[in-house]
């Protein structure tokens, strides 16, 4: 009988199981990303001359910067709408019976069960000149001429908010579910009003969920090429369309790569702000 196998350090994990996925990512994500970076560091479309020209072109061009700015702003608006509309749903979910819970979950998940394209086309029907909103307002006599909703920033925000809503609601439902309901009662019995309880107890404790939801919604909203171009139209330029235009129509791959890298960094910056907030909130929650 050999000696008992050297006792394994129970705190370490076998990395072998992660290897297939890691390899997959290495080949199909990291390698193309490096290629993208390599391409973006060239000044000409044939990728023969090295240089930072593409980045300089983007970062010194007020128009390009305004496209980046409006894309990041769009993400913030969509995230805010999702948070304001999604939080009550998640809160409600924790306070109703199991049957209603099933219904709520179904309603929340329903958008995920249809393709983004279908959902976006539905919004074209809703927001159009003869769409549901305009027809209702007109028949109620509130407006005379149809409102312009399609191809506006407002339309894009509303459509994106609906399309991305599950990404916000699901983490919120999980986060709110983890809060001990006794804390609510304790807060109330100690004399705090319901708003005070909400702001001092529920909201801080749900912050990890809020931040996870915001990160997901934000990242999905700013990169949603289909919804942005179908609801926003051709004159509202956001980063994904700008990128597509340079790569596909103009065959200017180095500039398109530089746009992608800059966009990627901008998104990473925003996401890291969210994660930093998340870390701070954990400290707050534990205090």
């Amino acid at each position: 009988m050999g000696a008992a196998p050297a006792s394994r350090d129970v705190t370490s994990y076998g990395m072998g199981l992660a290897a297939p996925l890691a390899l997959f990512f290495l080949f199909f994500f990291v390698a193309p990303l490096l290629q993208l970076l390599w391409l973006s560091l060239h000044n000409d479309t044939a990728a023969l001359h090295w240089g930072l020209g593409q980045y300089l072109h983007f970062l010194t061009d007020p128009f390009s910067l305004s496209v980046l700015g409006s894309t990041l702003l769009l993400g913030a608006e969509v995230t805010a709408v999702c948070l304001v509309l999604g939080f009550p749903i998640a809160w409600l979910y924790q306070r109703v019976g199991p049957r209603l819970q099933t219904i709520i979950i179904l309603i929340v998940l329903l958008p995920l069960l249809t393709s983004v394209v279908v959902r976006t086309f539905a919004w074209i029907v809703i927001l159009g000149r003869q769409g549901i909103i305009n027809a209702t307002l007109q028949s109620l006599g509130i407006i005379d001429t149809p409102l312009k909703l399609l191809y506006t920033q407002f339309g894009v925000v509303i459509a994106l908010a609906q399309v991305q809503m599950p990404l916000m609601t699901l983490p919120l439902i999980t986060a709110l579910g983890r809060i001990d309901p006794n804390l609510d009662d304790a807060s109330c019995s100690l004399g705090a009003g319901s708003w005070r309880t909400f702001f001092r107890i529920v909201l801080p404790l749900s912050l990890p969920g809020v931040i996870a939801g915001c990160t997901l919604t934000y990242a999905a909203a700013i990169t949603a090429f289909i919804t942005q171009s179908l609801i926003g139209g051709g004159q509202m330029l956001f980063m994904p369309m700008y990128l597509y235009q340079q790569a596909s129509t103009l065959q200017n791959w180095p500039f398109a790569s530089a746009i992608s890298i800059i966009f990627l960094l901008a998104v990473l910056a925003v996401v890291s702000v969210f994660t930093t907030l998340g870390r701070l909130s954990r400290g707050y929650g534990g205090a």
């Binding site: 128009f63 086309f121 074209i124 029907v125 159009g128 000149r129 003869q130 769409g131 312009k148 399609l150 191809y151 171009s229 179908l230 926003g232 139209g233 051709g234 004159q235 330029l237 369309m241 700008y242 597509y244 235009q245 790569a247 596909s248 129509t249 103009l250 065959q251 200017n252």
Partner: protein, 348 residues
């Protein structure tokens, strides 16, 4: 053949593997790969061109691999010595890019039986044009009772907030811009007048679509009543019951050559040539001219009929007179600058 669970599994696995690793099935001799466009193009080619080609060439193996022009160029560029595609299909802009990047072979004109029958505009030595795409005015006959006759009608005050255009990403958008420039005294080299004209068009503009396909949706939703539009796309909409009509403006309908090319270093050069020959035959072009395809033929031996004869041209002579061809070499030189300018200036 006896079907049992095991044989079914084997077949399913094999089919799955062939799907997942197409290289397996091409390991010996690759069938002819024809990169057509997606959507109605693919349908038309699958239903008409491929059967005609196979009939004429002893059932030669052929694969349709539909993708955008840009993707075709990228794929061939990535493996120039052993290209994964044998025959490419291009709009005029990308065609010049492909030729410029040395990705296509000259068409063996002297061997071709049909090349000389093509109308002169379709005779391109680097790859002939088997089809034309035609752009004219599209309108909703329920909202607009007097049919428009000229591009200038888009500026009429009664169409306030009813006009749709597309941005310059598409061939259609760019071609339209050039035509407007010409109408106002500009040319392929000078589109300033067109940008000024679009500035004046702003009160009428209801939408700047991101692509020509989106215009179709806007018609369906009543968001716009008039726009420049592609003849084929309009026929598809019309067939689905959307109230739209197409007219060729009196300045001439814009015609784009869709050209077909043999890829340089193709291992199937002969078959590629034969496929292109098949696309030029009067038989294939006549079938494609009839419903539901309504693709404008380029072979002068084809007798025009149906909707094409009614709306566009009765014969080749009239076609040449009513179509406007643009100089895409000149357009390509400045296109990126125009797109940039359009991005900046056209905000509604």
């Amino acid at each position: 053949m006896i079907m049992n669970r095991r044989s079914l599994m084997t077949t399913a696995l094999t089919l799955g593997a062939m799907k997942a690793f197409p290289g397996l099935s091409y390991a010996q001799a690759r069938p002819l790969v024809f990169a057509t466009f997606t959507g109605s193009w693919e349908e038309a080619h699958k239903a008409v061109l491929v059967p005609a080609f196979r009939k004429a060439n002893a059932d030669a193996a052929i694969v349709l691999d539909p993708m955008l022009s840009v993707d075709q160029i990228a794929k061939v560029n990535a493996a120039k010595a052993n290209p994964p595609i044998d025959v490419m299909l291009h709009d005029p802009g990308p065609a010049l890019v492909a030729i410029g990047q040395d990705l296509v072979e000259p068409y063996p004109v002297e061997k071709s039986a049909y090349y000389k029958d093509l109308i002169s505009e379709a005779q391109e030595p680097m790859g002939p044009a088997p089809f034309f795409q035609v752009v004219g005015l599209t309108y909703n006959p329920e909202a607009i009772k007097t049919p428009p006759t000229s591009w200038a009608d888009l500026w009429k005050p009664e169409f306030k907030g009813r006009v749709g255009i597309t941005n310059l990403n598409s061939t259609l958008g760019t071609g339209w811009l050039v035509e407007i420039a010409k109408m106002r005294g500009g040319s392929e080299a000078n589109v300033d007048p067109a940008f000024k004209a679009i500035e004046e068009l702003k009160p009428n503009l209801a939408a700047v679509a991101a692509n020509p396909g989106a215009l179709a949706t806007l018609f369906q939703q009543g968001q716009i009543d008039i726009s420049p539009g592609n003849f084929n796309a309009i026929q598809i909409l019309k067939a689905r019951g959307v109230p739209v009509e197409f007219v060729a403006p009196k300045e001439g309908a814009i015609a784009f050559k869709t050209t077909i090319h043999i890829v340089k270093n193709s291992p199937n050069r002969d078959l590629a040539f034969k496929l292109i020959e098949a696309s030029l035959t009067p038989e294939v072009q006549t079938t494609l001219m009839n419903p539901p395809y309504l693709i404008v033929p380029t072979n002068s031996k084809v007798t025009m009929g149906g909707e094409i004869a009614r709306v566009l041209a009765k014969d080749t002579a009239e076609l040449k007179q009513k179509f406007v061809f643009q100089d895409w070499k000149k357009i390509n030189e400045q296109r990126s600058a125009w797109i940039e300018r359009f991005n900046r200036e056209i905000k509604i």
